[in-house]
Subunit: 442 residues, 2 copies
């Protein structure tokens, strides 16, 4: 390797390294040329450090290389680490400067402060935008959230599964799927791993999780939707009720908050946001029918009885939870049958309502889940009741013919969790390479 | 939850649990009816345990439920855990038997011994096949391999990325992509995250990994190919040479062997296979041009100079490494430029050959990797040399315009690693729900 450590590691060990020789590789982030003295701020994924080239101190070829250096060139510098009045308290006295790569065209976007450019420009030159430490921090957080997800569910006895993304039928509704030309067959991109995570539970794996891409052919363009995103999915067999599923969701949310407390302080500060709050008594649960009342009485917002919340309703319920319940999270439970998919289990005593929930995080839905109908004949009834053709779901119905345990699960949006944690304005900021109605590149 | 622990946990703690009451939930795996005495073998993901229903000892309703019980019904049994002459040394004296789900149709495939049925039948009734502990063990191993992958690269300073699967151009060659109807655009399913893992390195994340689905529209039907599989990908910036990449690949292989040693003994025994061998001196590296000689001299197999190895050549080189070098793994290095993709870096001194490698595991290619061309003008030349249209790769070329570090990486087939570890005959056995020219369901 051309580098044996990251800049942050050098700075963290500066006490023991000062006076010794170090080697730093990264990009030329800032260059200050004072003639005889040149300061190069070298940036890598972990941080920045000043490299100082000085006539009479640095060799001739390093001086010449520094002379011609362009911003965002890839460099390795070597030399003594010494104390200096920089933010890091140290600098590298350059004894060797190698330029590994030089831009062949002027930069179309300045890395420093790129977050202030327009989002379309940032997404167009995303490889420059992400070099900005403000932006790469988003993706490092995203990786941490994924890690916390797997570690938490692994610790709870879940098995990771890898389900097909090429499928024969949509999960949710026929209209919002992308067709795939699959040899001589008609196939679609999976809108969610719903059918196959249920499959895995019924196939005896009992508790499963998956992180994978999902595809939604929704033509509308909002700041909260992507046409391709990563979904964090769980499915659990042998539940007593959908409260068991909510417990597993809450466990994960608590694990995220712990991670943010321990390792996320830097990114929270960078974005000026507070640690999300979960009451010690647990994430509050509010039945949707109660939410109708709260919205009307407290916010003068009328939601038709039996209808879903719109995004304003979710935002207001998020505000309510934050102000009245001291929680950045709130479960809304028992959605109407008519707004939930056919595989949802209906309430025994009130079949117009379901054992289902959404989790709102700072007023945005980040999780949808519930108990699934595992009884074959009930599933058939559900399909009929939705006016769906049992024939096209027969491959799914077959799973339920030979012993299926009661089960439930949830799907969570990775980018939405990150977006709400950092209070980003647009979900595209939390997706490295978003796909929407306008974008299939870069 | 209806169950608070897995059967294996009960058996592992049997000393302290015997004499107390336990609750077990799972599937009725085997039923032996001796009239007054009925033995139900209950199976969950972790193991099996005998539940004994006896007239005069168990209540009437449990007796009746046992009378009608069908194989693969989902049950919960409760009662005293007592010593018994079973394989596990214990049994549950049934005081309560709940049947949660009963098959609505006869079983089209017997769970026990399902591995002896034909593969098409197994794949057709995969939810029954996977209940077979022989089969579920494959998928538990697969999850472990994925975990080892992430843990290892995480420990080496890699960041997880989530790249788009909907792309504007194929990575490898135009012919083998699945077209997607993406609004009013022509798009494709990604054959690999190649372009975007390079993107992430150039965007400053430096070392990245991803586990995700990849899609290959290859119409041929072999026991080693899938049209959709999960790829384990890494990409590393600031490499000195492609040996750095091979070191990272070897580190992962060693981590797999360690995991198998520590937690994989059971599955290795189940399949009657030995722990894979890696010599202490490292995985051997054999230049392809040397492999030509070995194949001809030792096995009488002639490979045209400058051509790729076919599957027989790989198998023989695997045998050679196993017999002569005491290794189940062997790197074949320096492939010809003409058989490698345009983004491969050519050797400085021999431009007909490349800084590339394959890793063979027991004679099957499980990893492909190498150093990538990071110099913009060289990339253009490479495209021209391959007769490819630079225009359609412009979105990719743009990444290289503003400072790109030397980098390389590798793509590894998750299912192939599992297949070779257990010496499975067909890669479909290592994929929960394979997609091939014939299958888009279940």
């Amino acid at each position: 390797m051309l580098k044996d450590r990251f800049i942050a590691d050098i700075i963290a060990s500066k006490e023991s390294l000062v006076g010794g020789r170090v080697r730093v590789c990264g990009w030329a982030y800032r260059i200050r040329d004072l003639g005889r003295l040149k300061f190069i701020l070298v940036r890598d994924r972990s941080g920045v450090i000043q490299a100082t080239v000085k006539r009479g101190e640095s060799p001739e070829d390093a001086l010449r290389a520094a002379e011609d250096l362009k911003l965002e060139s890839v460099v390795c510098v070597e030399g003594e680490l010494r104390q200096a009045p920089t933010r890091e308290g140290v600098e590298v006295k350059v004894e060797r400067l190698e330029v590994l790569s030089t831009p062949v065209e002027p930069l179309p976007l300045e890395v420093e402060g790129s977050e202030k450019a327009s989002l379309p420009t940032r997404l167009k030159y995303r490889w420059l935008d992400i070099r900005n430490p403000m932006v790469s921090a988003i993706f490092e957080l995203e990786a941490m959230v994924a890690k916390v997800f797997r570690d938490y569910y692994w610790s709870q006895g879940f098995v990771e599964i890898f389900t097909p993304k090429i499928v024969a039928a949509g999960t949710e509704s026929g209209a919002e799927v992308f067709p795939v030309v699959y040899f001589d067959k008609t196939a679609f991109l999976a809108q969610s791993p719903q059918f196959y995570k249920q499959f895995a539970v019924i196939a005896g794996l009992e508790r499963v999780f998956e992180i994978g891409p999902v595809f939604r052919a929704e033509p509308h363009h909002t700041s909260r939707h992507l046409n391709e995103y990563h979904s964090l999915d769980i499915e659990v067999g042998f539940i007593e009720s959908y409260n068991d599923v909510m417990n597993y969701v809450e466990g994960f949310m608590r694990a995220i908050v712990r991670m943010l407390e321990e390792d996320g302080r830097r990114v929270l500060e960078l974005y000026g946001v507070e640690l999300p709050r979960i009451p010690a008594s647990g994430i509050p649960k509010i039945p949707l029918r109660k939410a109708y009342e709260i919205l009307e009485e407290k916010y003068g917002k009328k939601v038709e009885y039996g209808e879903d919340l719109d995004s304003e309703g979710e935002r207001l319920m998020g505000a309510y939870a934050g102000e009245e319940l001291d929680s950045d999270f709130v479960f809304i439970v028992e959605y109407p049958w008519k707004v939930r998919p056919f595989y949802t289990m209906r309430k025994d005593d009130e079949p117009s309502w379901t054992y289902s929930f959404d989790l709102l995080y700072r007023g945005l839905e980040i999780v949808t889940g519930g108990q699934r109908e595992h009884r074959y004949h009930r599933l058939l009834e559900n399909l009929r009741d939705k006016g769906l053709d049992a024939e096209s779901f027969q491959f799914y119905l077959d799973f339920f013919k030979h012993g299926a345990p009661p089960h439930g699960g949830a799907g969570m949006g990775l980018e939405r969790i990150v977006m709400q944690t950092l209070k980003l304005e647009n979900i595209r900021e939390a997706r490295m390479l978003p796909r929407d109605t306008e974008r299939i590149t870069p």
